[in-house]
Amino acid sequence: MDTVELAPLVEALIFAADGPIRADRLAEVLEVEQGAVAAAIATLMVDYAERPRGFLLQEVAGGFQLRTRPEYAEYLRKLGRSRPFRFSRPALETLAIIAYRQPITRTEIEYLRGVDSGSVLKTLLEKHLVRILGKKDVPGKPMIYGTTREFLELFGLADLAALPTLREFGELVADEENVLNVDNLPLLVDGADTEVDADEDPGEGLAEA
Protein backbone atom coordinates (compact mmCIF):
# COMPACT_ATOMS: atom_id res chain seq x y z
CA MET A 1 0.00 0.00 0.00
CA ASP A 2 1.40 3.40 -0.87
CA THR A 3 0.93 6.57 1.14
CA VAL A 4 -1.93 7.78 -1.06
CA GLU A 5 -3.89 4.64 -0.25
CA LEU A 6 -2.69 4.41 3.30
CA ALA A 7 -3.46 7.97 4.43
CA PRO A 8 -7.28 7.71 4.34
CA LEU A 9 -7.07 4.30 5.98
CA VAL A 10 -4.90 5.65 8.78
CA GLU A 11 -7.32 8.55 9.07
CA ALA A 12 -10.25 6.13 9.39
CA LEU A 13 -8.51 4.19 12.17
CA ILE A 14 -7.59 7.34 14.07
CA PHE A 15 -11.18 8.51 13.64
CA ALA A 16 -12.62 5.24 14.95
CA ALA A 17 -10.23 4.52 17.81
CA ASP A 18 -11.59 5.23 21.27
CA GLY A 19 -8.63 7.36 22.31
CA PRO A 20 -5.28 8.48 20.97
CA ILE A 21 -3.87 5.62 18.90
CA ARG A 22 -0.15 4.94 18.70
CA ALA A 23 1.71 4.68 15.42
CA ASP A 24 2.96 1.19 16.27
CA ARG A 25 -0.57 -0.03 16.84
CA LEU A 26 -1.68 1.45 13.52
CA ALA A 27 1.19 -0.36 11.83
CA GLU A 28 0.20 -3.59 13.52
CA VAL A 29 -3.47 -3.34 12.52
CA LEU A 30 -2.61 -2.34 8.94
CA GLU A 31 0.24 -4.84 8.67
CA VAL A 32 2.63 -2.26 7.28
CA GLU A 33 5.96 -0.86 8.38
CA GLN A 34 5.95 1.91 10.96
CA GLY A 35 7.71 4.11 8.44
CA ALA A 36 4.74 3.84 6.10
CA VAL A 37 2.39 4.86 8.91
CA ALA A 38 4.63 7.80 9.77
CA ALA A 39 4.55 8.94 6.13
CA ALA A 40 0.77 8.64 6.00
CA ILE A 41 0.42 10.63 9.22
CA ALA A 42 2.74 13.31 7.87
CA THR A 43 0.56 13.58 4.75
CA LEU A 44 -2.56 13.87 6.89
CA MET A 45 -0.93 16.50 9.10
CA VAL A 46 -0.19 18.67 6.06
CA ASP A 47 -3.69 18.14 4.73
CA TYR A 48 -5.31 19.10 8.04
CA ALA A 49 -3.12 22.15 8.37
CA GLU A 50 -3.92 23.35 4.85
CA ARG A 51 -7.64 22.84 4.70
CA PRO A 52 -10.04 24.54 7.05
CA ARG A 53 -11.55 21.55 8.76
CA GLY A 54 -13.69 21.41 11.87
CA PHE A 55 -11.19 19.23 13.66
CA LEU A 56 -7.45 18.84 13.99
CA LEU A 57 -5.11 15.89 13.97
CA GLN A 58 -3.10 16.06 17.17
CA GLU A 59 -0.31 14.07 18.70
CA VAL A 60 -1.46 13.36 22.24
CA ALA A 61 -0.21 11.03 24.97
CA GLY A 62 2.04 9.18 22.57
CA GLY A 63 -0.72 8.64 20.01
CA PHE A 64 -2.83 10.46 17.44
CA GLN A 65 -6.34 11.76 17.82
CA LEU A 66 -8.80 13.98 15.99
CA ARG A 67 -10.12 16.83 18.09
CA THR A 68 -12.36 19.78 17.33
CA ARG A 69 -10.77 23.19 16.92
CA PRO A 70 -10.54 25.05 20.22
CA GLU A 71 -12.07 28.18 18.66
CA TYR A 72 -15.35 26.31 18.22
CA ALA A 73 -15.57 25.48 21.93
CA GLU A 74 -18.47 27.84 22.58
CA TYR A 75 -20.75 26.01 20.12
CA LEU A 76 -19.59 22.54 21.05
CA ARG A 77 -20.32 23.15 24.70
CA LYS A 78 -23.92 23.68 23.67
CA LEU A 79 -24.02 20.05 22.58
CA GLY A 80 -23.85 19.19 26.25
CA ARG A 81 -20.70 17.17 26.15
CA SER A 82 -18.63 19.36 28.40
CA ARG A 83 -16.58 17.84 31.12
CA PRO A 84 -18.59 18.33 34.28
CA PHE A 85 -15.74 19.60 36.41
CA ARG A 86 -13.53 22.59 36.39
CA PHE A 87 -10.24 22.75 38.15
CA SER A 88 -10.06 24.60 41.39
CA ARG A 89 -6.86 26.54 42.01
CA PRO A 90 -5.63 24.05 44.60
CA ALA A 91 -6.23 21.19 42.18
CA LEU A 92 -4.41 22.93 39.34
CA GLU A 93 -1.50 23.90 41.53
CA THR A 94 -1.15 20.40 42.93
CA LEU A 95 -1.44 18.89 39.49
CA ALA A 96 1.24 21.23 38.15
CA ILE A 97 3.59 20.38 41.00
CA ILE A 98 3.08 16.65 40.45
CA ALA A 99 3.51 17.00 36.69
CA TYR A 100 6.83 18.81 36.95
CA ARG A 101 8.26 17.16 40.01
CA GLN A 102 7.20 13.54 39.61
CA PRO A 103 7.90 11.17 41.23
CA ILE A 104 6.89 13.18 44.27
CA THR A 105 5.56 12.37 47.75
CA ARG A 106 2.64 14.02 49.46
CA THR A 107 4.98 15.61 52.00
CA GLU A 108 7.01 17.21 49.24
CA ILE A 109 3.86 18.55 47.59
CA GLU A 110 2.72 20.00 50.88
CA TYR A 111 6.09 21.62 51.53
CA LEU A 112 5.92 23.30 48.12
CA ARG A 113 2.33 24.44 48.49
CA GLY A 114 2.49 25.22 52.18
CA VAL A 115 -0.88 23.56 52.81
CA ASP A 116 -2.35 20.14 53.44
CA SER A 117 -3.02 18.51 50.09
CA GLY A 118 -4.61 15.19 50.98
CA SER A 119 -8.10 15.86 49.72
CA VAL A 120 -6.89 17.53 46.54
CA LEU A 121 -4.63 14.57 45.88
CA LYS A 122 -7.52 12.19 46.40
CA THR A 123 -9.65 14.12 43.93
CA LEU A 124 -6.88 14.00 41.35
CA LEU A 125 -6.54 10.25 41.89
CA GLU A 126 -10.29 9.83 41.47
CA LYS A 127 -10.22 11.81 38.24
CA HIS A 128 -7.41 9.55 37.04
CA LEU A 129 -5.15 12.51 36.43
CA VAL A 130 -2.66 11.32 39.01
CA ARG A 131 -1.56 7.85 39.90
CA ILE A 132 0.48 6.11 42.53
CA LEU A 133 3.85 5.20 41.09
CA GLY A 134 5.03 3.18 44.05
CA LYS A 135 6.81 3.86 47.29
CA LYS A 136 9.84 5.91 47.96
CA ASP A 137 12.80 4.08 49.40
CA VAL A 138 13.16 6.26 52.47
CA PRO A 139 12.08 5.65 56.05
CA GLY A 140 8.31 5.40 56.26
CA LYS A 141 8.14 4.33 52.60
CA PRO A 142 5.82 7.15 51.54
CA MET A 143 3.82 6.71 48.35
CA ILE A 144 5.05 8.56 45.32
CA TYR A 145 2.78 10.13 42.75
CA GLY A 146 2.96 10.93 39.07
CA THR A 147 0.62 11.98 36.29
CA THR A 148 -1.36 9.63 34.06
CA ARG A 149 -1.95 9.20 30.36
CA GLU A 150 -5.30 10.87 30.92
CA PHE A 151 -3.51 13.94 32.21
CA LEU A 152 -1.64 14.14 28.89
CA GLU A 153 -4.89 13.61 26.99
CA LEU A 154 -6.71 16.28 28.93
CA PHE A 155 -4.08 18.92 28.30
CA GLY A 156 -3.31 17.76 24.78
CA LEU A 157 0.33 16.95 25.51
CA ALA A 158 2.30 14.49 23.37
CA ASP A 159 4.37 13.52 26.40
CA LEU A 160 5.76 14.99 29.61
CA ALA A 161 8.54 16.71 27.70
CA ALA A 162 5.83 18.76 25.98
CA LEU A 163 4.87 20.45 29.27
CA PRO A 164 5.18 24.23 29.12
CA THR A 165 8.62 25.40 30.21
CA LEU A 166 8.86 26.36 33.85
CA ARG A 167 9.94 29.93 34.28
CA GLU A 168 12.70 30.30 36.78
CA PHE A 169 12.29 33.38 38.90
CA GLY A 170 14.93 35.30 40.75
CA GLU A 171 12.37 37.91 41.64
CA LEU A 172 8.71 38.13 42.24
CA VAL A 173 6.68 38.95 39.19
CA ALA A 174 3.63 41.10 39.06
CA ASP A 175 0.41 39.16 39.02
CA GLU A 176 -0.62 38.68 35.47
CA GLU A 177 -4.14 39.20 34.37
CA ASN A 178 -4.93 35.56 34.11
CA VAL A 179 -3.71 34.96 37.60
CA LEU A 180 -6.56 35.19 40.02
CA ASN A 181 -6.76 38.78 41.01
CA VAL A 182 -7.13 38.62 44.72
CA ASP A 183 -7.97 42.27 45.02
CA ASN A 184 -11.40 41.59 43.60
CA LEU A 185 -12.26 38.85 46.02
CA PRO A 186 -14.55 39.56 48.89
CA LEU A 187 -11.88 38.94 51.45
CA LEU A 188 -9.08 41.01 50.56
CA VAL A 189 -6.57 42.57 52.60
CA ASP A 190 -8.12 45.93 51.98
CA GLY A 191 -11.65 44.64 52.06
CA ALA A 192 -11.03 42.95 55.36
CA ASP A 193 -9.68 46.21 56.57
CA THR A 194 -12.96 48.02 56.11
CA GLU A 195 -14.99 45.16 57.49
CA VAL A 196 -12.92 45.05 60.59
CA ASP A 197 -13.03 48.78 60.96
CA ALA A 198 -16.79 48.69 60.93
CA ASP A 199 -16.98 46.66 64.09
CA GLU A 200 -13.78 47.33 65.83
CA ASP A 201 -11.68 50.10 67.03
CA PRO A 202 -10.08 51.38 63.86
CA GLY A 203 -6.73 51.24 65.54
CA GLU A 204 -7.08 47.49 65.78
CA GLY A 205 -7.68 47.11 62.09
CA LEU A 206 -5.14 46.42 59.46
CA ALA A 207 -2.28 48.75 59.13
CA GLU A 208 -2.29 50.79 56.02
CA ALA A 209 0.56 49.72 53.85
Partner: protein, 256 residues
Protein backbone atom coordinates in the same frame (compact mmCIF):
# COMPACT_ATOMS: atom_id res chain seq x y z
CA UNK B 1 -12.74 26.26 45.95
CA UNK B 2 -16.29 26.18 44.80
CA UNK B 3 -17.38 29.49 46.20
CA UNK B 4 -15.77 32.72 47.13
CA UNK B 5 -16.65 32.23 50.75
CA UNK B 6 -15.01 34.77 52.92
CA UNK B 7 -12.17 32.70 54.10
CA UNK B 8 -8.44 32.67 54.21
CA UNK B 9 -8.74 29.99 51.56
CA UNK B 10 -9.07 32.80 49.08
CA UNK B 11 -5.37 32.52 49.39
CA UNK B 12 -4.07 29.14 48.45
CA UNK B 13 -2.13 29.06 51.66
CA UNK B 14 0.32 31.03 53.74
CA UNK B 15 2.84 31.20 50.90
CA UNK B 16 0.24 32.70 48.61
CA UNK B 17 -0.73 35.24 51.24
CA UNK B 18 2.90 36.19 51.85
CA UNK B 19 3.53 36.58 48.13
CA UNK B 20 0.56 38.87 47.93
CA UNK B 21 1.71 41.00 50.85
CA UNK B 22 5.25 41.31 49.54
CA UNK B 23 4.06 42.34 46.10
CA UNK B 24 1.42 44.69 47.40
CA UNK B 25 3.96 46.50 49.54
CA UNK B 26 6.64 46.35 46.87
CA UNK B 27 9.05 44.81 49.30
CA UNK B 28 12.45 43.56 48.19
CA UNK B 29 12.23 39.80 48.18
CA UNK B 30 15.92 39.49 48.91
CA UNK B 31 15.70 41.78 51.90
CA UNK B 32 12.26 41.19 53.31
CA UNK B 33 11.50 43.55 56.16
CA UNK B 34 10.55 40.86 58.63
CA UNK B 35 9.03 43.14 61.23
CA UNK B 36 6.64 44.73 58.75
CA UNK B 37 5.64 41.54 56.98
CA UNK B 38 5.13 39.66 60.25
CA UNK B 39 2.96 42.46 61.61
CA UNK B 40 0.80 42.56 58.50
CA UNK B 41 0.51 38.81 58.37
CA UNK B 42 -0.55 38.58 62.02
CA UNK B 43 -3.02 41.41 61.56
CA UNK B 44 -4.73 39.53 58.79
CA UNK B 45 -4.94 36.44 60.94
CA UNK B 46 -6.41 38.55 63.75
CA UNK B 47 -8.90 40.03 61.35
CA UNK B 48 -9.99 36.56 60.42
CA UNK B 49 -10.57 35.70 64.04
CA UNK B 50 -12.56 38.87 64.58
CA UNK B 51 -14.77 37.83 61.70
CA UNK B 52 -15.14 34.42 63.31
CA UNK B 53 -13.44 32.65 60.46
CA UNK B 54 -11.42 29.52 60.72
CA UNK B 55 -7.74 29.99 60.43
CA UNK B 56 -6.17 26.84 59.09
CA UNK B 57 -3.27 25.46 61.05
CA UNK B 58 -0.91 26.06 58.13
CA UNK B 59 -1.45 29.81 58.48
CA UNK B 60 -0.66 29.60 62.18
CA UNK B 61 2.45 27.55 61.51
CA UNK B 62 3.67 30.19 59.08
CA UNK B 63 2.97 32.88 61.66
CA UNK B 64 5.23 31.04 64.08
CA UNK B 65 7.89 30.71 61.38
CA UNK B 66 7.77 34.44 60.65
CA UNK B 67 8.09 35.34 64.32
CA UNK B 68 10.98 32.93 64.64
CA UNK B 69 12.83 34.41 61.66
CA UNK B 70 12.21 37.90 62.95
CA UNK B 71 13.66 37.06 66.34
CA UNK B 72 16.71 35.44 64.78
CA UNK B 73 17.38 38.61 62.82
CA UNK B 74 17.18 40.62 66.00
CA UNK B 75 19.81 38.52 67.74
CA UNK B 76 23.10 40.33 67.95
CA UNK B 77 25.50 38.94 65.40
CA UNK B 78 28.41 37.00 66.77
CA UNK B 79 31.37 39.01 65.73
CA UNK B 80 33.46 36.30 64.30
CA UNK B 81 34.04 37.12 60.70
CA UNK B 82 34.89 33.65 59.50
CA UNK B 83 31.68 32.14 60.83
CA UNK B 84 29.52 34.93 59.62
CA UNK B 85 30.17 34.11 56.02
CA UNK B 86 28.93 30.57 56.43
CA UNK B 87 25.83 31.56 58.26
CA UNK B 88 22.83 31.73 56.01
CA UNK B 89 20.37 34.56 56.26
CA UNK B 90 17.48 33.26 58.41
CA UNK B 91 15.14 34.39 55.64
CA UNK B 92 16.83 32.38 52.91
CA UNK B 93 14.66 29.28 53.12
CA UNK B 94 11.49 31.32 53.11
CA UNK B 95 12.65 33.19 50.02
CA UNK B 96 13.44 29.94 48.25
CA UNK B 97 10.02 28.59 49.09
CA UNK B 98 8.30 31.73 47.89
CA UNK B 99 10.13 31.68 44.57
CA UNK B 100 9.46 28.00 44.12
CA UNK B 101 5.81 28.42 44.99
CA UNK B 102 5.49 31.32 42.59
CA UNK B 103 6.94 29.16 39.83
CA UNK B 104 4.27 26.48 40.20
CA UNK B 105 1.51 28.95 40.79
CA UNK B 106 2.33 30.60 37.51
CA UNK B 107 2.72 27.41 35.51
CA UNK B 108 -0.57 26.09 36.82
CA UNK B 109 -2.25 29.10 35.23
CA UNK B 110 -0.36 28.48 31.99
CA UNK B 111 -1.51 24.88 32.08
CA UNK B 112 -5.10 25.92 32.68
CA UNK B 113 -5.00 28.29 29.73
CA UNK B 114 -4.15 25.44 27.36
CA UNK B 115 -7.06 24.03 25.38
CA UNK B 116 -8.49 21.24 27.47
CA UNK B 117 -10.26 18.15 26.23
CA UNK B 118 -13.89 18.34 27.20
CA UNK B 119 -13.71 22.05 27.88
CA UNK B 120 -12.25 23.60 24.74
CA UNK B 121 -11.95 20.76 22.32
CA UNK B 122 -13.79 17.52 21.87
CA UNK B 123 -13.04 14.10 20.55
CA UNK B 124 -15.62 11.83 18.99
CA UNK B 125 -18.34 10.42 21.18
CA UNK B 126 -20.10 7.98 18.88
CA UNK B 127 -18.47 4.57 18.88
CA UNK B 128 -17.86 2.80 15.60
CA UNK B 129 -19.95 -0.36 15.40
CA UNK B 130 -17.20 -2.25 13.59
CA UNK B 131 -14.76 -1.59 16.37
CA UNK B 132 -17.15 -2.44 19.16
CA UNK B 133 -18.36 -5.61 17.49
CA UNK B 134 -15.22 -7.48 18.29
CA UNK B 135 -14.59 -6.35 21.81
CA UNK B 136 -15.03 -8.84 24.57
CA UNK B 137 -18.25 -8.78 26.45
CA UNK B 138 -16.54 -8.06 29.72
CA UNK B 139 -17.05 -4.53 30.84
CA UNK B 140 -14.20 -2.16 30.68
CA UNK B 141 -12.14 -2.16 33.80
CA UNK B 142 -12.45 1.02 35.74
CA UNK B 143 -9.59 0.39 38.14
CA UNK B 144 -9.34 -0.83 41.68
CA UNK B 145 -9.72 2.65 42.98
CA UNK B 146 -13.10 3.09 41.27
CA UNK B 147 -14.35 -0.27 42.37
CA UNK B 148 -13.46 0.27 45.98
CA UNK B 149 -14.98 3.66 45.84
CA UNK B 150 -18.25 2.37 44.48
CA UNK B 151 -18.39 -0.16 47.27
CA UNK B 152 -17.23 2.33 49.85
CA UNK B 153 -20.01 4.69 48.92
CA UNK B 154 -22.55 1.93 49.33
CA UNK B 155 -21.10 0.98 52.70
CA UNK B 156 -21.01 4.56 53.81
CA UNK B 157 -24.76 4.87 53.66
CA UNK B 158 -25.38 1.58 55.36
CA UNK B 159 -24.74 2.15 59.01
CA UNK B 160 -24.26 -1.23 60.62
CA UNK B 161 -20.87 -2.82 60.83
CA UNK B 162 -20.70 -5.95 58.80
CA UNK B 163 -20.23 -9.16 60.61
CA UNK B 164 -18.29 -12.02 59.21
CA UNK B 165 -21.22 -14.34 58.93
CA UNK B 166 -20.70 -16.20 55.73
CA UNK B 167 -23.64 -18.55 56.24
CA UNK B 168 -26.24 -15.88 55.83
CA UNK B 169 -24.51 -14.60 52.71
CA UNK B 170 -24.52 -18.06 51.25
CA UNK B 171 -28.24 -18.25 51.62
CA UNK B 172 -29.08 -15.06 49.88
CA UNK B 173 -26.73 -14.47 46.95
CA UNK B 174 -28.97 -16.44 44.61
CA UNK B 175 -32.06 -14.66 45.90
CA UNK B 176 -30.35 -11.38 45.33
CA UNK B 177 -29.35 -12.33 41.81
CA UNK B 178 -32.96 -13.11 41.04
CA UNK B 179 -34.22 -9.90 42.55
CA UNK B 180 -31.72 -7.86 40.55
CA UNK B 181 -32.80 -9.66 37.38
CA UNK B 182 -36.41 -8.93 38.22
CA UNK B 183 -35.64 -5.26 38.61
CA UNK B 184 -33.87 -5.25 35.27
CA UNK B 185 -36.83 -6.77 33.45
CA UNK B 186 -38.11 -4.54 30.70
CA UNK B 187 -35.44 -1.96 31.36
CA UNK B 188 -32.42 -1.03 29.36
CA UNK B 189 -30.27 -0.33 32.34
CA UNK B 190 -30.21 0.49 35.98
CA UNK B 191 -27.86 2.69 37.94
CA UNK B 192 -25.43 0.88 40.19
CA UNK B 193 -26.41 3.07 43.11
CA UNK B 194 -30.12 2.40 42.59
CA UNK B 195 -29.55 -1.23 43.40
CA UNK B 196 -28.60 -0.20 46.88
CA UNK B 197 -31.49 2.15 47.46
CA UNK B 198 -33.34 2.06 50.70
CA UNK B 199 -31.80 1.32 54.03
CA UNK B 200 -29.84 -1.85 53.77
CA UNK B 201 -27.75 -3.61 56.27
CA UNK B 202 -24.10 -3.82 55.44
CA UNK B 203 -24.50 -7.53 55.06
CA UNK B 204 -27.18 -7.03 52.47
CA UNK B 205 -24.96 -4.59 50.67
CA UNK B 206 -22.16 -7.10 50.49
CA UNK B 207 -24.53 -9.80 49.32
CA UNK B 208 -25.88 -7.50 46.62
CA UNK B 209 -22.40 -6.66 45.55
CA UNK B 210 -21.43 -10.32 45.33
CA UNK B 211 -24.61 -11.00 43.37
CA UNK B 212 -23.64 -8.31 40.90
CA UNK B 213 -20.18 -9.74 40.46
CA UNK B 214 -21.76 -13.12 39.92
CA UNK B 215 -24.12 -11.80 37.26
CA UNK B 216 -21.18 -10.27 35.49
CA UNK B 217 -19.30 -13.53 35.63
CA UNK B 218 -22.30 -15.29 34.17
CA UNK B 219 -22.29 -12.60 31.47
CA UNK B 220 -25.89 -11.77 32.14
CA UNK B 221 -25.16 -8.16 32.89
CA UNK B 222 -22.35 -5.77 32.37
CA UNK B 223 -21.25 -2.58 33.98
CA UNK B 224 -20.71 0.43 31.82
CA UNK B 225 -19.92 4.01 32.45
CA UNK B 226 -21.51 6.51 30.12
CA UNK B 227 -18.72 8.93 30.78
CA UNK B 228 -15.26 7.83 31.57
CA UNK B 229 -15.69 8.69 35.21
CA UNK B 230 -19.43 8.94 35.31
CA UNK B 231 -22.00 6.94 37.16
CA UNK B 232 -21.81 3.17 36.77
CA UNK B 233 -24.74 1.53 35.00
CA UNK B 234 -25.79 -2.04 34.83
CA UNK B 235 -27.01 -3.41 31.50
CA UNK B 236 -28.58 -6.80 30.92
CA UNK B 237 -26.76 -8.61 28.14
CA UNK B 238 -29.56 -11.08 27.52
CA UNK B 239 -33.25 -10.34 27.10
CA UNK B 240 -34.94 -10.84 30.43
CA UNK B 241 -38.44 -12.22 30.24
CA UNK B 242 -41.19 -12.38 32.77
CA UNK B 243 -40.67 -15.00 35.37
CA UNK B 244 -37.06 -15.64 34.43
CA UNK B 245 -35.54 -17.79 37.06
CA UNK B 246 -31.87 -18.14 37.21
CA UNK B 247 -30.82 -21.70 37.08
CA UNK B 248 -27.99 -21.29 39.48
CA UNK B 249 -27.68 -23.49 42.47
CA UNK B 250 -25.62 -22.54 45.45
CA UNK B 251 -23.07 -25.12 44.47
CA UNK B 252 -22.24 -23.45 41.22
CA UNK B 253 -21.73 -20.20 43.03
CA UNK B 254 -18.79 -21.68 44.79
CA UNK B 255 -20.22 -21.87 48.27
CA UNK B 256 -20.13 -25.61 48.58
Amino acid sequence: MDSYAIHLENFEGPLDLLLHLIKKNEMDLHDIPMAAITRQYLEILDAMKVLNLDVASEFLLMAATLVHIKSKLLLPKIVEDEQEEDEEDPRAELVRRLLEYQKYKEVSQVLDSRPQLGRDLFARAAPEPEVLEETDSEFVAVGLFDLLEALQEVLRVSPEPMTHDINLEQLSVTDRINSILTRLQGRESIAFNDLFEGVMQRKEVIVSFLALLELVKLRMVRFMQNARHGAIWLFPTVPLEEGVDLNVGEDSLGYS
